[in-house]
């Protein structure tokens, strides 16, 4: 087991190296730092002096891989690749292109992201399971037909509509919650209620349909037939036997998503003005701050890989028959 996990971690590091090289290529060789500077300063008539100054300020003036001007090991380390890309492995993010420390920002913003993401995630799973179990419970009735139709309809609506209409309805018309913003303490609930509600609603359709097929698959198994032939009521069969067994694949599949919750909900955060990592990323994309985008790519893949490893482990815990070798 330990061996297996170590191997998976090794593989994860390998992938991270790939991601790192890939983003480096994309950001520094496909487009040169000169292009970035020009784009960042803006305008077509940017003098070479201004570009050089911009590059020096951000440390982009060094060679990419090999600094012949230095001596010894510094030939290798005084390069853009080591300073701006390889350093990420030590979670040393450096400064953003606008000059602020990325690591500090990440630490500050991860809290609000989690405050939004975790409740959305947990409540969302609960709502989806209840909805899809009801669909299964009322199968072959009009309730199921219309329930599934509703789910497909919900699935066909862009998440942006949910946000815009939700803000309009709850904040502007009913004035129940503020339109956007964020505060600590007891106010947190007021600010997060609507984003959480919308987050759940926008995911409900697709996930309920998916869980429904999972439950239906489970319901055709032998133990369910046995339970029914014992004379157990449908409610007991569904909510005790089927739910418990179907929860295993559901939970193991959600483990993979857990670490990514740290990244926050991109759209939701920026719409509701929550100072989390999602809105940080969107701001970075809009202001074309490549340093932040690169850091977020790296953090995102680290979390994804952690999710992969956790999934593998959770399989063995959930089902002892699976042996990892």
């Amino acid at each position: 087991m330990i061996n297996y996990i170590l191997r998976r971690i090794g593989y994860g590091v390998l992938i991270l190296i790939g991601v790192n090289l890939f983003t480096f290529m994309l950001f520094f060789t496909v487009n040169t730092p000169d292009d970035m500077a020009r784009m960042n300063i803006g305008g077509k008539r940017v003098t070479q002096d201004a570009i050089d100054k911009w590059k020096v300020e951000r440390g982009y003036d060094k060679p990419l891989f090999w600094n012949a001007g230095e001596d010894g090991v510094r030939k290798l380390t005084k390069t853009i690749f080591v300073e701006r890309s390889a350093q990420l492995f030590a979670f040393n993010f450096g400064a953003s292109d606008s000059g602020r420390d990325i690591g500090y920002e990440l630490k500050r913003r991860v809290g609000p992201s989690i405050a939004l993401a975790i409740p959305t995630f947990i409540l969302g799973i609960f709502v989806v399971i209840v909805f899809s179990l009801l669909l299964v419970f009322f199968r072959n009735t009009y309730l199921e037909f219309w329930g599934v139709t509703l789910a497909v309809f919900l699935l066909s609506i862009s998440s942006l509509f949910y946000i815009i209409v939700g803000q309009f309805f709850f904040s502007k018309l009913l004035k129940l919650v503020p339109i956007s913003g964020f505060a600590g303490g007891a106010d947190l609930v007021v600010f997060l209620a609507l984003p959480i509600l919308i987050g759940i609603a926008s995911r409900l359709g697709g996930e309920a349909l998916f869980y429904r097929t999972m439950f239906l698959e489970e319901i055709g198994k032998d133990y369910v037939r046995t339970a029914r032939s014992k004379g157990l009521s449908e409610t007991v069969v569904l909510f005790r036997h089927v739910l418990r067994n179907a929860m295993l694949p559901i939970l193991t599949s959600t483990v993979a998503v857990l670490p990514l919750l740290f990244l926050g909900a991109l759209i939701m955060e920026s719409f509701f003005g929550i100072p989390g990592l999602g809105s940080y990323t969107i701001d970075a994309i809009n202001s074309q701050d490549f340093a932040i985008v690169r850091s977020m790519v790296f953090v995102g893949s680290v979390l994804y890989i952690v999710g992969l490893i956790l999934t593998d482990i959770s399989y063995t815990i959930a089902d002892p028959r699976i042996r990892l070798a």
Partner: protein, 494 residues
């Protein structure tokens, strides 16, 4: 003679239509495929959805024929001077809808409105007053708007709907006649359609078409003189924007899916067939790609494109071409970043297939690996490709809106549902609310995505027997008591 302009996405879109036509021909001449598609053809919901999709596709195709009109020769130009073309590239749709395209107001106006949305200072009879200004085009034919407006709208609506109804009636007759093909009478054919005694659910399809035609008739009657869905902040007709957005959505949905196919098919089959080292490398490749959050990956690529386009302005003759290249590349990027899921499915299926007897036999006969993959494996995984392609379409249309919001979607000058929703964001916080942009984007987008969902799920059920077990049946005469096991579920366990 106007100069015809071929934009990158136009060529791709028409290429796609040709490819679909080729596939239809292929499916018709293959008995098994014909049999499978028959179950889609007989599904009323799927076929009604197909009618809606065809209407959307028709608009998109009309909007994909671009030209630059010939300008009248300049004063005193030599007779043999090279012809000058307009700098504006128009599509056939633009040309057909010239009136609403050119009818630009100053700013917002409500649907079917005759007056502006905000009060303005103006001078009437020598005194300066603040009032709602008359629109330049919307309801410009009315003299006294208060007295005439309601009557005019009703009269025009009724005329339009009547025209639509006549068109729909013609459509019913046409289908009945074509279906009868002289063998049975037209009347008998109509009766058969009405009583649903036809294999293909003509009645459902015709009803859907009737609704569409009625809507088209209503719009056709009102659009020349009113802004049916109002105007946006810069006074552009919202319905026209929605019509233009259809093409963007169709291009993104179809081309991005198309772009995933080469990577997914080649890598998926290679990994599954060769196993070992090749498999390791390919798996590494797609795990790496999918480990990067997709929005960031797309953003990175799009920022790169932006730099490239800014650096090479001479490559694009017109602004439309520049915007179009961005749309084309965005689709390519969505394909480049989105092939992992399909490749994974194809790899698993190929792993299974390559152990089957007929592949072993082919190998024993000395058929080369390339030929085995092409002739024996590829045809047997196409159903997966097809299912994933149709299922992905709607997701991509929705994704475009999100990307446009993040700022890495289509060019800001390109009409798309994403840009429409984006502008609607601020409009909803105005007082009084400007709701029509959002409503128009919502209606068109939901119609497109929803019909694609229904069509896709029918295709999925036709090609994947496992999915058929989970299909929702509309209960017939007497709904079963819920205590019984569903027949679907029993079928799944057998």
């Amino acid at each position: 003679m106007p100069k015809i302009v071929f934009l990158a996405t136009d060529v791709a879109l028409y290429g796609l239509v040709v490819a679909i036509a080729f596939y239809v021909w292929h499916a018709l001449s293959t008995p098994t495929l014909r049999q499978t598609w028959r179950s889609v053809l007989h599904d009323a919901v799927a076929m009604s959805a197909a009618v809606v999709l065809l209407a959307f596709l028709a608009v998109a195709m009309l909007d994909s024929l671009h030209f630059r009109s010939l300008l009248p020769p300049a004063q005193g130009a030599a007779a043999d001077a090279a012809p000058a073309y307009s700098t504006r590239t128009l599509s056939v749709l633009d040309w057909l809808l010239e009136k609403p395209r050119e009818a630009r107001e100053k700013s917002y106006s409500v649907p079917l409105g005759t007056h502006g949305f905000a009060k303005e200072s103006m001078i009437v009879d020598g005194t300066s007053i603040r009032d709602y200004p008359r629109l330049q085009f919307g309801g410009a034919h009315l003299k006294d708007t208060d007295a005439e407006w309601a009557r005019d709208v009703v009269v025009r609506s009724v005329t339009g709907l009547a025209g639509g109804a006549a068109g729909a009636a013609l459509l019913w007759l046409l289908v009945a006649t074509l279906r009868a093909r002289g063998r049975t009478g037209v009347r008998a054919s109509l009766v058969a359609i009405w009583h649903r005694n036809t294999e293909v659910p003509w009645r459902a399809m015709l009803w859907t078409a009737t609704v569409l035609v009625l809507f088209a008739g209503w719009v056709a009657a009102l659009w020349p003189v009113y802004h049916v869905f109002g105007t946006d902040q810069t006074g552009n007709d919202v319905l026209f924007q929605a019509m233009k957005s259809i093409r963007t959505a169709v291009v993104i949905g179809s081309l991005a899916t198309l772009a995933t196919l080469p990577f997914a098919i080649v890598f998926g089959i290679l990994a599954g067939y060769y196993k070992g080292r090749v498999d390791d490398v390919i798996q590494y490749l797609y795990t790496t790609l999918s480990s990067i959050p997709s929005v960031l990956l797309i953003a990175a690529f799009v920022l790169m494109i932006q730099v490239f386009v800014d650096k090479n302005p001479q490559m694009f003759e017109t602004a439309l071409q520049r915007a179009d290249v961005r749309l084309f590349l965005l689709s390519a990027i969505l394909g480049l970043t989105g092939w992992a899921a399909l490749a994974r499915l194809l790899r698993a299926e190929t792993l299974k297939l390559s152990e089957l007897d007929y592949v072993q036999a082919a190998r024993a006969f000395g058929v080369s690996s390339a030929n085995i993959m092409r002739r024996h494996i590829l045809p047997n995984v196409t159903h997966i490709v097809l299912i994933v392609a149709v299922l992905d379409f709607s997701g991509l249309v929705l994704y475009e809106a999100v990307l446009s919001y993040v700022g890495v979607g289509v060019d800001p000058t390109t009409n798309s549902f994403g840009t429409m929703i984006n502008s609607a964001r601020n409009e909803m916080s105005r007082d009084p609310v400007v709701w029509w942009t959002l409503a128009a984007a919502f209606a068109f987008m939901v119609a497109l995505v929803l019909s694609m969902q229904f069509f896709a799920s029918a295709v999925n059920e036709a090609f994947d027997p496992r999915a058929r077990a989970f299909r929702v049946r509309r209960p017939k005469a007497s709904p079963r008591a819920s205590g019984h096991p569903a027949p679907a579920a029993v079928a799944a366990s057998d």
